[in-house]
Symmetry: D2
Subunit: 361 residues, 4 copies
């Protein structure tokens, strides 16, 4: 981190950035209420701190060892003087504020009718953002892969998603499964989702970040939190800090029945909030893999401080072509949102006191 | 399971039990509102269902494959006609009702003063049960092992615990680490805790169960839920169904920093409630291993439906001889209880409707 | 699986394939010594077995539930009448025979000099295939990402690799990290490696398979063996069965020091050999993450029946820009190959008897 | 560690030990070829190094942070001047030398006939030590628990084991499952086995160690290597260094079929050998849980440097009352031993050169 003097001029800043470039390094320039800080992107050992400190306008240079620097909570304190959390704005929806955000919709888009029916339902249930999969990541090549299997059907399905979002006034989120889909998805969607399986896919992350659209990054089910944040850093280092992190369960451990598909690691919520300034949401549907745990674990996630939930909803789950056993109904979704809101409100007084700051994270 | 006819006589029941004994099997006789059901303890293949069905008073025989039969929720429906959850009573405290129970106290009892100070504090904070370790399980033989290292100091420390419980009107819970400690602990404590490391210790479980005192059984950090319940079954098969289960975190998975000592598996709460009729509580202190997550994860645990919490509290955590970094203060404990109660109350309307039954577990 | 009658005509086969296509399904036609078998690619529920059995030339239809059908060992017995293992040929090198194959080279290609020096060294040490990374997957965006960061430097580095392979008469293998690199890597390399982090990347797998080049697929560190094989199936379903599987370690479990980067799961070797007809090799360098275990674990891998090893070798590990701590020297590599060969030969008599068939896998 | 001067007198040593005792600490006195070293048992912060260095005969004090000090390879170099591995002697059998030791026998002793038949078989197959379970740890209370369920049948079964061992000239090993069994097992067995589930059972470890008999300690399936060694330290701190460690698999990770009961972590073999001076063996039977992997993984274990194997053998596995699916036959055992010996011999030249020292661990 290169901390500039208060009032450092635009020329001084540019000159530092150029110096970094000349050393094969990138720069993340953040100007806050107090001052400008320049985060170094790339291998810091290529350049000497002593050299940087001689440049005009530079106050101090701090080399940080962690693989996630640009999304680090500490970083934001340097230029803003306080540990502000980031609020990611998607149209009128704000993720990261005190009010939990609900994303809902089918696992996979199957037809226009199906999508419109569900969209209308989740809107009236109180959801803010509509989700629907076109490019489905699947464990078996022999399973239904989503409507994205041809370019034509992909465009058609993405078009329905856009139309549903517009009609019911909800921004839309959908997954980008591979690099070749980035362009087309960015044309239609408001938020680009990178699924759990692609969390380590740095080439995809870089391309998704460059679209400039907000990115919803799910933790890989085999990743430690440190790795999760290290890959979120790829997004930030590509110039995009509109990042929403998502905990969706990690691989089960142990011999014998686990009763759920994955282990939902809710401690990740306060840990990520302490380590970074980014909002984190929770996906209880994929973690449980069974609908009868979704409501309970949604409540637990909101209690843990999650900024929102992503939930799979279907009007007719038994006939769903994908993940039917974990989708809840539209009326259950309404009930869930209502319960989560009450819970969230009941905790407001505790989150706002000084003591709450220390205690409730 | 041997389902007796309605109105089966005492003689008929005894005769079935004796028949089982003659085959080297044990019997768990449960008489409910509807009828009597006899659970077979031991290897069912030793006896034929056809034979059992010829015995007087027997209505039907159902062989169940699961390793946990006596604590199975289904089992209780057979004689009570409804899936009643069990409420474990410890003096005036009830675990398993809608009202969450708070157990609090120091990791290890260090002195009478320390214990009395903390006991007074947690009582006024609203805790129901006092905890305090005498026989400490430790990863290193070179660490402080608790005051239980000699028989004399063990009795002394257990006496303080009893005195503190009596003085502040709280039942007391403490860990039995080895078989040779069962007798002495049962003399002083109201609840016998079997720690995570001893979950697989079947000899200890049998002896603890036989004291007749309620048992608090913690999930091993490497155990699947199926294994957890299979070992709780050892308690029930030894004639003791006053079992309180406790989730306290499982081994972390993945490479890189995990930021917590264990992964708290809150999905275990609703899963255990669906599989068995036993109450389950949560210990967020050991899962996190750091005090700044305890409040947040307590709230998440209550939201997930936990019947209570076990929390480590110290009046002077920095000087604690064990686990200092995860203990919270007395005033934080009061704050935590207050927040958990509000949360619990805010969810009551949702838990009580018919829909909630399906949704909130 | 559609089992054709002996002597089914080309027209009959084509007609079945067309029928599948009409139902939106793909076909994998395998003609062996006994008969032709047609594997169905895609969701089998779209078509009825009864219908298929009425088609001319069809003897029998077997619907298989497993997500890996085309690489299943059982599948190959249907048309060949015996459970033949597949030998993947790369120039003169055969992977899957009794003779272990050694792939060696630097983690990352750093310069032409570095690569040529190591290539000469590993050739004289007895290696068969040269490895060298151009597109490096890295946990931190701030670490050296390989020479593949620009198109120009990527082509230059790939050219050196090709040149070194030709000069020292070794086929070359290198990793394809993203979809946009498939074309360029296929121009230069003999084997395309899909790294652990991309195992779940189905879009990449499909594109890599379609190049027609042999593919080296590494198991993801969070994947069960079932998932590993399910994703290898993506390659086969894309028409490429020249698949070499590779075990390289899974995420460590437990609290406290693990002493290695990953847990090397050598049971995967015989399990994969029983489940599929594909060869499997082992990468002990990444599993251990430290050079002093590489020799020992190489021996263990060969004893477990691995068809080969992929080892990181450097002439000057201390100055390596990536993974220096796990690379061994050229002379250690020679020593390792010599020891592995002796071990492999000492086990030949046991692997070849009838009893060995049952016992040594 | 308190390093005494060369030629320190007996009085000086006793005086240091007494000083430690006065501070509530224990002492492990090791006198080697070079000098005497005194390991401190307990919490070193209770005493000051400066004070210790003033005591007569003391040369130097080194405080070591690791939870395993007394079994640390470094410790032994202090008094012997070289990193000697420990050879545990059980009658004529030596564990820890270049020659692998084979322990074989049934999972559970079922009858005298069964045991004698198997004992004769494994002896002629080349086994060195006879194993057989009397106190069986079981996941389900409803499964066969071994003949140890009553005191009388336990003594009878242990008597057969002793008799079989004497008749066929093999030392015998059997598991102690609970504290109350320590005395009786020590009367009959030559080696006391502490099973995987009891690795964390410090009370049992202390009592087992105090019998003075060699102890076979299995790694818990949820334990890191650091934890494994920390609990082995409990044995050494109780005055018993005749410790044989055993790797037997850790909990599987991931979603989907794992195909084996546990993940066999063979990297543990060289890691343990580097960290401590204790011998380590491998149990492939429990790791795999299926007999068709036992031979292959035995070879891999020996190649990894294991000092021996513990294998479950039965003359009629299909009728075995426990673990039938993983026991191999007597003739397979003979075949396995023969193959392991050849493999071990083929590697001798590599293990003995200077280079091998660095490379093969």
């Amino acid at each position: 981190m290169i901390i500039m003097r208060k009032g450092a001029s635009r020329e001084e800043i540019t000159s530092v950035v150029n110096d970094l470039k000349a050393h094969g390094l990138g720069a993340d320039v953040s100007t806050g209420e107090i001052r400008t800080v320049i985060g170094i992107i790339g291998d810091e050992t290529k350049i000497s701190a002593t050299h940087l400190e001689t440049l005009p306008g530079v106050k101090e240079v701090r080399l940080i060892e962690t693989p996630y620097k640009l999304i680090n909570r500490e970083y934001s304190t340097l230029f803003d003087g306080k540990a502000e959390s980031r609020i990611v704005k998607i149209g009128k929806v704000e993720i990261g504020s005190a009010r939990p955000v609900f994303m809902a919709g089918p696992c996979a888009i199957e037809s226009k009718d199906q999508l419109m029916t569900i969209a209308e339902g989740v809107k009236s249930a109180g959801a803010h953002i509509l989700r629907g999969g076109v490019f489905k990541p699947r464990s078996s090549v022999h399973s239904f892969q989503g409507l994205g299997s041809t370019d034509e059907s992909a465009r058609e399905a993405l078009g329905w998603l856009r139309e549903a979002g517009d009609k019911y006034d909800m921004p839309v989120v959908t997954e980008v499964r591979g690099e070749s889909q980035v362009k087309i998805v960015a044309e239609y969607a408001d938020v680009l989702q990178v699924g759990s399986r692609n969390m380590y896919n740095q080439d995809l992350l870089i391309q998704v970040a460059r679209t400039g659209k907000p990115v919803l990054l799910k933790r890989h089910f085999g990743a430690s939190i440190e790795e999760f944040l290290s890959f979120a850093e790829y997004l930030a280092a590509s110039g995009n800090k509109d990042i929403i992190l998502c905990e969706r369960g990690i691989v089960p451990v142990g011999r014998g029945k686990s009763f759920t598909r994955y282990t939902l690691d809710l401690q990740a919520v306060p840990v990520v909030q302490k380590e970074t300034y980014l909002p984190i949401i929770v996906d209880p549907s994929h973690a449980a893999g069974r609908r009868d745990l979704v409501m309970t674990m949604s409540l637990a996630a909101i209690a843990a401080g999650a900024s929102g939930l992503e939930i799979e909803v279907h009007h007719n789950a038994k006939e769903a072509r994908c993940d039917g056993q974990q989708m809840i109904t539209v009326s259950e979704m309404g009930y869930l949102i209502e319960a989560c809101r009450r819970l969230s409100e009941s905790l407001q007084p505790f989150r706002m006191t000084g003591m709450g700051d220390k205690c409730i994270n």
